[in-house]
């Protein structure tokens, strides 16, 4: 990468046999537990997920615990294994607070929390007993630290939070909310801190937002002097926030390639089955070439997501650029794949009964979630000092 290409060590470019086996087990499990009928049932509910299914996920496979160190009740695997889970949940469009709890909240606690914070918070998250999320975006919809306006004011032994967080993933259903806020009168990365809030606090007003992708539930949270405990120092968390966002971008990229590959497969399957003019439409070059292009898009996107996951596991010094590259590349590919999949399905692809729109909407929502491709391409160049 811009002169800083990591060596071509095999682990950057392949999965181990154990990782492949893990993926197979997971795919079988999710095919069984999260077929489209189940996705449709859950996405129509207000909460978007259910405790029973969540428990099953954690009791049988320990999925939320996957990348949490054993010292905090986790399974102690790495970021690559976490990304394998996300690729599979993205493929299955699993309706569960996995991204919020296992990626965002867990990432924030590991990056910013003190030893005591980790001991205190992670075991319940790892077991799935506590569902946690991270509230960082606000009404302005900006994704960087400069968009964070909410203030944390020292009060008694802790802090008091005032302001609004929006687009909070599973914000209406999480048990524990980690909030990014700032010291009054600070700006940018300066004065940024993470704070832990009990989701049942009286001064917290939670309003579910109507989302286009109903498998991804978002909420707007109004904080009216909510009591909060700081995570770590409660200040100077700019670096931890940036890192949490980079890891989240890579995790999202992994989730997206899972969905994109499923769409690509469904498009080819349909093209082979659909008969027009006395032959499968998949025998026409107009369709074959589109399918070949879709494979190229998805395979390049996978290469980006896999490389980024390995780079995150190695804590690569170029991680900020790699994370942005992966987010931009994969979100473009996912969206394009979704559009092409509908096109290949023709009229039927535009109907509610056809499943394509479920993934299309996830692709659309993922296109902007955590920052769109333009934003991330710019971040990438800045990290490279262009």
């Amino acid at each position: 990468m811009a002169g800083k290409q990591a060596g071509d060590q095999i682990s950057r470019y392949s999965f181990t046999d154990e990782q492949e086996e893990f993926r197979t087990v997971l795919r079988r499990f999710l095919d069984d537990k999260s077929p489209p009928t189940e996705v449709r049932r859950l996405m129509a509910t207000e909460t978007g997920w259910e405790r029973a299914g969540w428990r099953e996920l954690n009791n049988q496979l320990g999925l939320t615990a996957i990348a949490i160190p054993e010292a905090y009740g986790g399974q102690g695997f790495g970021f690559v294994e976490l990304c394998i889970v996300l690729e599979e949940t993205g493929r299955a469009l699993l309706c569960a607070p996995y991204f919020s709890s296992a990626v965002l909240a867990t990432g924030a606690i590991l990056n910013a929390g003190s030893e005591e914070d980790r001991q205190g918070l992670l075991p319940a998250i790892a077991s799935g007993e506590t569902v946690a999320t991270l509230a960082f975006t606000e009404d302005n919809g900006g994704w960087g630290s400069d968009a964070i306006e909410m203030t944390a004011t020292p009060s008694g032994s802790g802090y008091r939070l005032d302001g609004v967080k929006s687009f909070v993933l599973d914000g209406a259903t999480a048990d524990l909310i980690i909030v990014v806020a700032r010291r009054p009168a600070s700006s940018g990365d300066d004065g940024l801190g993470f704070f832990v809030v009990d989701a049942t606090a009286d001064e917290l007003e939670k309003t579910p937002l109507e989302t286009m992708d109903t498998t991804r539930k978002l909420a707007r949270l109004q904080f009216n002097g909510v009591e909060a405990k700081p995570l770590g120092e409660g200040d100077g968390a700019g670096v931890a926030f940036a890192k949490t966002m980079q890891q989240a971008a890579i995790a999202l990229a992994s989730e997206m390639v899972g969905g994109a590959e499923r769409l690509r497969e469904s498009a080819v399957d349909y093209a082979m089955m659909r008969m027009q003019f006395g032959r499968p439409i998949g025998s026409f070059q107009a369709i074959k070439h589109k399918c070949a292009d879709m494979l190229v898009d998805v395979e390049l996107a996978k290469a980006a997501a896999y490389y980024a996951a390995a780079a995150a596991a190695d804590d690569d010094e170029d991680l900020p650029a790699i994370a942005s590259l992966a987010k931009a590349c994969v979100s473009d590919a996912y969206m394009k794949t979704a559009i092409d999949t509908i096109q290949i399905h023709g009229g039927i692809g535009f109907t509610w009964d056809n499943d394509t729109h479920l993934w299309f909407k996830r692709a659309k929502s993922s296109e902007v979630f955590l920052g769109d491709a333009h934003y991330h391409r710019e971040l990438m160049l800045r990290h490279w000092d262009v």
Binding site: M1, A2, Q5, D8, I10, R12, Y13, S14, V268, A271, M272, R279, P280, G282, S283, F284, Q285, K288, H289, C291, A292, D293, L295, V296, E299, L300, A301, K302, A303, A304, Y306, Y307, L325, A328, C329, H374, R377, E378, M380, L381, W384, V386
Partner: protein
Amino acid sequence: MSEPTEAEIREEVSAWIADNWDPDRGLVEWRNMLVDSGWGVPSWPKQWYGKELNEVLSAAVEREFKRAGAIGVARTGVRMLVAATLHEHGSDLHKEKFLRRILTGEDVWCQLFSEPGSGSDMAAATTRADLRDGKWIVNGQKLWTTSAQHAQYGILLARTNWDVPKHQGLSFFIIDIEQPGVTVQPLKQMNGHASFNQVFFTDAVIEPEFIVEKPGEGWRVATTTLMHERRGATGLGSWGQGSTGKGRAYDEERAEVATVMEPYKWYPQRAGRANWVIERAKETGKNTDPAVRQEIAKVMTLYNTAQWLSNRGRAAARMGRKQGPEGSLGKLIGSHVARAAAHAHTAITGADAMLSGADSPRDGLIAEILVSVPATSIAGGTDEIQRNIIAERVLGMPREANNDTDRPFKDVPRNIVS
């Protein structure tokens, strides 16, 4: 006897190199020693100058040569494709007569497959070979022939039967280029270079023993050549790899590489020079233009992900895993990278992109990128053919119906070539 270990092989080869390698020897003399020892092509059969070592051990041998700075056998041009084809289909006479001089570099070869009337549809060749008085007499025209102007021999695909469907009427020959019936002319390209030739045959003669396999089996033989070409056995990859050592052998190797590579010095420009984009944007100040920045980021994203994808393919091969789709996608992705890079270079270069030669930035190389990139999506299989291959071989989609495989070739509609 059990397979030798990598350590044993490395010890054996490095001892042999230490005893024999002398940079002041003549290149051909040294390569003959390589051929006789088996260390020049260790993966080849023992009977034909090799040691029958597997891929891993052969790679270890190659590393020892690199480490010692010792020159290997000749690899430029299509010679290794010819060798691979002869191993599989050639007679003992062919192997005896040609393999050694392929390896020593004494003979240069060319591949006479493409024609003006058959590009992507190579099996529609109309160059004809007719048996007259026990000899094959060749008439017709080939195109896009690399190195024909230096070549002593060519591998030729010609039609010997017009009354059967197209694939069945072809035969594969070895032809002596240095004869009166063969005329080689350079073909000038839109970027001003003339890297390829047109080759005309007017009653050119082939002795009967230089057909490879039987008449009508030419397509099967050519498929072997093409398969090796796709695997990248061609020597063009060794661009610029002439070593910098001192001594007669090094001098002769550099001259060999320079002669073969001269017509292809625009190839790095053809691939788009994506790795220059950031540097150039800083030079021209276009790195402050937000729209151009997006273009730059897109090229760099494609350039890096293409590299990672191909590294995944290589890692899988090294681990002995089944090849994924990576291998089939590289050619098409290369076209995307080249086009995106040319697009970005244009935006970065601005008005200077209208200039050429010494007036164009980087002494004409930027202009050369812009007029060379269109070759990338055509040469070695067009993007459209690549998409067919991907759709059919990787995705398992059906072939489009053909118009020409169910009738004698003489009844197939085809191009009129003057």
